[in-house]
Symmetry: C2
Subunit: 322 residues, 2 copies
């Protein structure tokens, strides 16, 4: 565990906390959906909410105050709304803990506690990457406030994650290339998931497909699917179905059964196929999305190559005023 | 106020409640987003969460228990996941209050308190329709538990809502017809909103466009927009921009400015144009989505006519097993 994470956990022990807010934008927000899921499943006493940074500021939740913990994330630490959210929360007396890749970024300056994470490009332990740190913070908080013991299982599991991810990426490379070949001309690609996975479906839709590939998308919730969205399905519509290992797996299995029955272009990423031997059984549902994200990223990389549309292509982001 | 609503409010007074869960599917869930918004803005002590019914059951939030209030909604009262969610919550000792149109429906039997709402087809007060009742329940709860006084302003405002809605529908009919004419051949139409409006954007995307018109859609969050989805915008992409009166209006104004700068097919529904004279100023942000929903419904009706695809057309819903 990074020393920065330990410092934040020490602060949790010293402060009264009755409520947690997960605050970020886009990809940085998407990794927090699993955190909210863990809070709901595990916490016996703490309330939690997840908001996009600007919604958080303007919604201005009435219960935000000195007994709130606000966890924020921004990769470059420059996202203006997230920096402002940190200042806003701090002015309200909340304990702020921010994750960023850049120690000199505005977000690092705006927050009481800062955790500088790694982006994995140098290899090394996955425990030092943002999605893993989010779980350390959440289970660390629950350890401190409620005696939850899952942090003890989390730490060794995280140490095994790099190897697991590398293995699953190697195993799925051919499938990723086949996906890219088959779907490179599609204008609309849906993703679907539930529970701890929903954030990954959301991330793939809005960041990888819409932002980086200019492909129309929507992250369908596997439960809501049957109350409207499923009517869009026909034999031409592509759906990337995530199937995880958390308690909502039956929702994803049900939507998968349906999409496979009436659709013809269904891509399945099932965490049951992952070799999670090195992850504590009680944590597999919470950690599967981290592996899924890496596998899906490779799908996007192959798609970008096939379409000759690099993932770095932008028309507005960082280029025009907004 | 309906006698059934008063009975539920009386029960709120008699029970210990520390947490509220808003539970439903599709359209019935979408009207609860404004309820969650009101809870966040107004409540000084109660936690609240909103879940699709099956996610609620399988996620099985650890804090669901005797001090929980679970508010559920299903129009026909037969949605299996919502009926099961009511039984599930009741077994956990939670106070269950369900809204349905049908007093003999399974949901009515499964719930401790039942509110039979009207669907407005007979005219009459809008106060007896589900979105209005949701606000009565939320502000009634906050009156009972925290001394919030907005319920007193809500009741006369609701009495004026039918007239307001009829007026706004008449005012926007020509725009609805023009929308239908211009967008009838589009394959993808986005909606966008934030705060109290987001549920309406979600409803229009998943129920009206995807379910009832088989048009691809996604409810964009006006804040998240700039962290991924905006890259999809070009001069061909249609976006229905909702602009409300709640505290997150600046987010919607910002996304509107951007979509109008780079897009050419932007449809704007701005609550500032509504004549809300009869609504208490302190409640206009919370009630604007109810008017917006009626106005948008008329847009969908005109679209259905122009496309010769009735809103009742289905290929799977109520027709096949799922």
């Amino acid at each position: 565990m990074l020393a920065d994470v330990q410092k934040a956990l020490d602060a949790f022990g010293e402060r009264e906390i009755n409520r947690v807010f997960f605050v970020g934008c886009g990809g940085s927000s998407s990794i927090m959906y699993a955190s909210k899921y863990v809070m709901d499943r595990e916490s016996t006493s703490l309330a939690s909410d997840l908001y996009s940074s600007n919604e958080f500021i303007h919604r201005n939740p009435r219960q935000l105050g000195p007994e709130s913990l606000v966890i924020l994330c921004s990769h470059y630490g420059k996202t203006p709304e997230t920096v402002e959210a940190a200042s806003f929360a701090r002015e309200k007396g909340a304990l702020t803990v921010s994750l960023t890749f850049d120690p000199d970024a505005p977000l690092a300056k705006a927050s009481e506690y800062v955790i500088i994470y790694e982006d994995g490009k140098q290899g090394g332990t996955f425990a030092n990457e943002a999605p893993a740190i989010m779980l350390e913070l959440v289970l660390g908080l629950l350890s401190s406030k409620e005696g939850n013991t899952k942090l003890d299982e989390l730490l060794p599991s995280l140490e095994n994650l790099r190897g697991i991810i590398d293995g699953e990426k190697a195993k799925s490379l051919a499938a990723a290339k086949a996906f890219a070949e088959a779907y490179q001309d599609d204008k609309v690609i849906y993703t679907m998931g539930s529970g701890a996975n929903y954030g990954i479906a959301y991330w793939f839709s809005i960041c990888l497909l819409m932002e980086m590939q200019w492909i129309h998308s929507h992250a369908l919730h596997a439960g809501e699917y049957f109350h409207g969205p499923f009517e869009i399905l026909d034999e031409q519509v592509p759906v990337i179905q995530l199937v995880g290992l958390d308690e909502t797996r039956p929702l994803e299995e049900r939507s998968l059964e349906f999409t496979q029955r009436y659709g013809k272009r269904i891509i399945v990423i099932d965490a049951k196929e992952f070799d999670l031997e090195g992850v504590a059984p009680s944590l597999r549902g919470y950690l599967a999305p981290l592996v899924m994200q890496a596998v899906l990223r490779q799908y996007a990389e192959e798609l970008a190559t096939a379409r000759n549309h690099p993932l770095t292509t932008r028309r507005y982001m960082w280029k025009v005023a907004y």
